[in-house]
């Protein structure tokens, strides 16, 4: 049962990396899109792409939190009491970002819009970065089982900082690929080129950071390194191949294929981390079983997963389909 819940948690993290990641990435490009005039069209494209699905994407984060605190309460407390600084900053980013998003569309005054938009964009970068440092801290074993670890060094370390950078790069990559596909559908040549170039840059950066992260883990988290280059190697390779293929096909492939490939690249990367770290939840000292809640709680969680799959999946499909249809109508 513990393993089932652990897999459920990993799926949640992957989903958040994919859907939330694309969202954050859009915010990142928003930040770098240039002045009010030059950046107007790319920004409109982004609004168009993420508008209605915004909230649905972020429910994944809540899902992950709930799974950890119900399924692995001891680890949850340990993480929260150690990494409270980066988590606090990430929350700050979420608040600012969420409200910025909510208000931006309703505000007409350009000055206010600019302040609000800037807040939105900046926090889109801050949040994934700090989540990345949290993952780095957990993976490199800097969260003691009893909690209350070093509140600074647990996230200011090579593993954490590189993972933070990697998180930003992944988000930027996903968003750029999705935006390219969107622009292609709308038949906007220049925008297509604009976002394609950015997808390339982000992909290179993500690749470089991933390699650097791996190299650092050789010293910093040796067990992780061994498994990343061992049993998780197929996933690492799939990730790299899918990512490269998505870039290569960006000119002529079908939109659906490109989106899928980019998604696979990110999902395989996260899954690789999960596989390499299993059966440990915190570094190499607390396993999932150590931190697990009583079986009945875990069973309840699994039942909730199942119910969610039955109820939520069709509704989410409906939403995405309606959104696609709406886009075709207006485009």
């Amino acid at each position: 049962m513990t393993t089932v819940v652990a897999i459920g948690l990993l799926l949640g993290v992957i989903a958040y990396a994919l859907f939330g990641g694309a969202d954050f990435g859009a915010g990142f490009w928003d930040l770098t899109a240039g002045g009010a005039e030059r950046g107007r069209r790319p920004r409109a494209l982004m609004d168009h792409a993420i508008g209605p699905v915004w909230e649905a994407n972020h429910t994944w984060l809540i899902y992950c939190l709930v799974v950890v605190w119900t399924g692995f309460p001891a680890a949850f407390a340990a993480i929260m009491t150690t990494l409270y600084l980066p988590l606090g900053f990430a929350v700050l980013g979420i608040v600012v970002r969420g409200s910025g998003f909510a208000f931006r569309k309703v505000i007409v005054h350009t000055d206010y819009q600019r302040v609000n938009g800037a807040a939105f964009a900046l926090s889109s970068v801050i949040t994934p970065f700090f989540f990345g440092t949290v993952i780095g801290g957990i993976a490199s074993g800097r969260v003691p089982a009893a909690g209350h670890g070093d509140s600074i060094r647990s996230w200011v370390n090579p593993s954490s900082l590189l993972t933070g950078g990697l998180a930003i790069a992944i988000c930027a990559y996903l968003a750029a690929v999705f935006l390219t596909v969107d622009a292609q559908r709308g038949g906007e040549q220049d925008l297509q080129q604009w976002s394609r170039r950015r997808a390339w840059i982000a992909a290179w950066l993500a690749g470089a950071l991933a390699v650097a992260d791996l190299a650092v883990s050789h010293h910093d988290a040796h067990r992780l390194f061994t498994h990343l280059t061992g049993r998780a190697l197929p996933l690492t390779i799939i990730s790299a191949l899918a990512g490269a293929l998505a870039l290569a096909l960006m000119h002529r492939g079908s939109p659906r294929l490109i989106r899928t490939l980019a998604g696979v690249a990110v999902a395989a990367l996260v899954a690789g981390w999960g596989v390499a770290q299993y059966p440990y939840l915190l570094g190499t000292h607390t396993s999932f079983t150590d931190a697990a809640a009583p079986t009945s709680s875990l069973t309840a969680l699994v039942v909730v997963f199942a119910a969610a799959a039955v109820i939520v999946a069709p509704s989410i499909t409906l939403l995405y389909r309606l959104q696609q249809r709406g886009q075709l109508e207006s485009g």
Partner: protein, 445 residues
């Protein structure tokens, strides 16, 4: 934490009950071809979208805060306490998805399909409220867990969710949500009418909201009465604080107002045998006082006073609102119209604020009334709260952010209203919705 919860709890009625009002207007609009009602539904859906986006953000922050500020609670009881939140997660998903569909679906779906796409929002709102209240109720009457050496080793999921306090707390909060949403919305239109905007649009807006709240009000008083007796039976310490009762005894008077100073109640208005009658329906009912609580976990007089006065405020405002509802009901029954005096509209404007005051005080009663416990009988607040970092820094940060977000939300909503008045509906973009430009493009042949 208390502050962010306090912020979030105001938003809850709008996520839960405001969408219901919106659907009522929507239904009326389609059924009777009522253009005013349809316009109301459309505008309310946009307001709901903004508030829902803010509510989702503050809700996300809350789930983080549970860990950041209360690691003791989550670490020790997460296995039980977390389950209602897992269930809530599903409802939240559904709500988020269908809010988006509903907002996006205006003019895109057929009227009835669109109406039905809004129904899951209201249903999920009910489910979500029930789950979160279940978690809160569990803190008041924890059940369904087996402890060994300070660790939870067994969890009975049904007993955790449907704990002793679940039914009445859930109903009480749920009805409160409808009351607050109803009176606040009615208050907005009453204010509009006072300023001379006495058209049909304002009238329909007022009636839909006010009628809902007025119908719910007497039910709420009844449920509240039941809830108080349940508290008397199962949470004697909280009840003693509510009644500000220093000593155990029979023929206990009901004290209105008053403060506890040095173990004596001062300045209160006492109704002989009141508390005994209300709690046990007989004047000889024995009511446990504060002296029945072991000294180590007895709440300080300051806390007792807060709980007692908050309770009085809640009941007082509740009855004031009931009076207003009765006035309206009577006049409507006689001549199918609103009371003519301007004082009625003034009172309605005030009712919105009063209903929020009642909601807040009720929440204070249940939360402060549990102190010094976080999980009654199992976990003291001082053991639950974080010791890492500077709680106050976090708290101050949260305070500043919420003040900014809150005032921004108000400004944005005001701005929306002005633009509706000035340039019509198509000019207003909302979260989740299509861009105004898109709508204009679609409207072109």
């Amino acid at each position: 934490m208390a502050f962010t919860l306090g912020f979030h709890i105001i938003l809850v009625p709008f996520g839960v009950a405001f969408t219901f009002l919106m659907l009522v207007a929507n239904y009326r609009g389609i059924r009777r071809g009522d253009a005013d009602a349809l316009l109301l539904a459309r505008r309310w859906s946009k307001v709901a979208a903004v508030l829902f986006a803010v509510g989702a953000v503050s809700g996300t922050v809350l789930s983080f805060e549970l860990g950041l500020l209360w690691p003791g609670l989550m670490g020790r009881f997460g296995a039980a306490y977390g389950i209602p939140f897992a269930i809530e997660g599903i409802f939240f998903f559904i709500e988020a998805i269908f809010v988006a569909i509903y907002i996006y679906g205006w003019d895109r779906l057929s009227p009835w399909a669109h109406f039905w796409s809004g129904v899951p929002v209201t249903v999920a709102g009910l489910g979500g409220t029930a789950s979160v209240v279940a978690a809160n109720a569990w803190m008041n009457q924890p059940g369904g867990i087996t402890m060994r050496a300070g660790r939870v080793v067994g969890v009975d999921v049904w007993a955790v969710v449907f704990n002793g306090a679940f039914w009445y707390e859930m109903l009480h909060m749920f009805l409160a949500a409808y009351i607050v949403a109803g009176f606040v919305v009615a208050g907005v239109y009453a204010a509009g009418m006072l300023k001379g905007r006495r058209n049909r649009y304002h009238r329909v807006g007022f009636l839909v909201a006010f009628t809902t709240a007025a119908v719910v009000m007497p039910v709420q008083i009844f449920v509240g009465d039941v809830a108080a007796r349940e508290v008397f039976k199962h949470e004697p310490a909280k009840f003693a604080a509510i009644e500000t009762l220093p000593h155990t005894g029979t023929h206990v008077p009901e004290t209105l107002g008053g403060v506890l100073v040095n173990g004596k109640v001062r300045y209160g208005l006492k109704i002989p045998d009141g508390a005994s009658l209300l709690s046990g329906l007989r004047s000889s009912t024995r009511v446990e006082g504060l002296d029945a609580i072991p000294a180590a976990v007895r709440p300080a007089a300051r806390l007792v006073n807060i709980v007692h006065l908050a309770f009085d405020v809640m009941v007082g405002t509740g009855f004031a609102l009931l009076g207003l509802s009765t006035w309206f009901g009577f006049v409507w029954w006689r001549r199918r119209d609103l009371p003519r005096t301007r004082w009625f509209l003034r009172a309605c404007t005030l009712a919105g604020v009063l209903s929020i005051v009642a909601l807040k005080s009720g929440w204070i009663v249940t939360e402060v009334g549990r102190q010094p416990w976080t999980v009654r009988g199992l976990l003291l607040t001082r053991d639950a709260v974080t010791t890492s970092g500077n709680v106050w820094a976090f708290f101050a940060g949260a305070l500043v952010i919420y003040a900014a977000v809150g005032s921004a939300a108000v400004l944005v909503l005001r701005g929306m209203r002005k633009r509706w008045a000035a340039s019509g509906d198509a000019a207003v973009d909302v979260p989740y919705g299509p861009n105004a430009g898109d709508i204009a493009a679609e409207a072109r042949p």
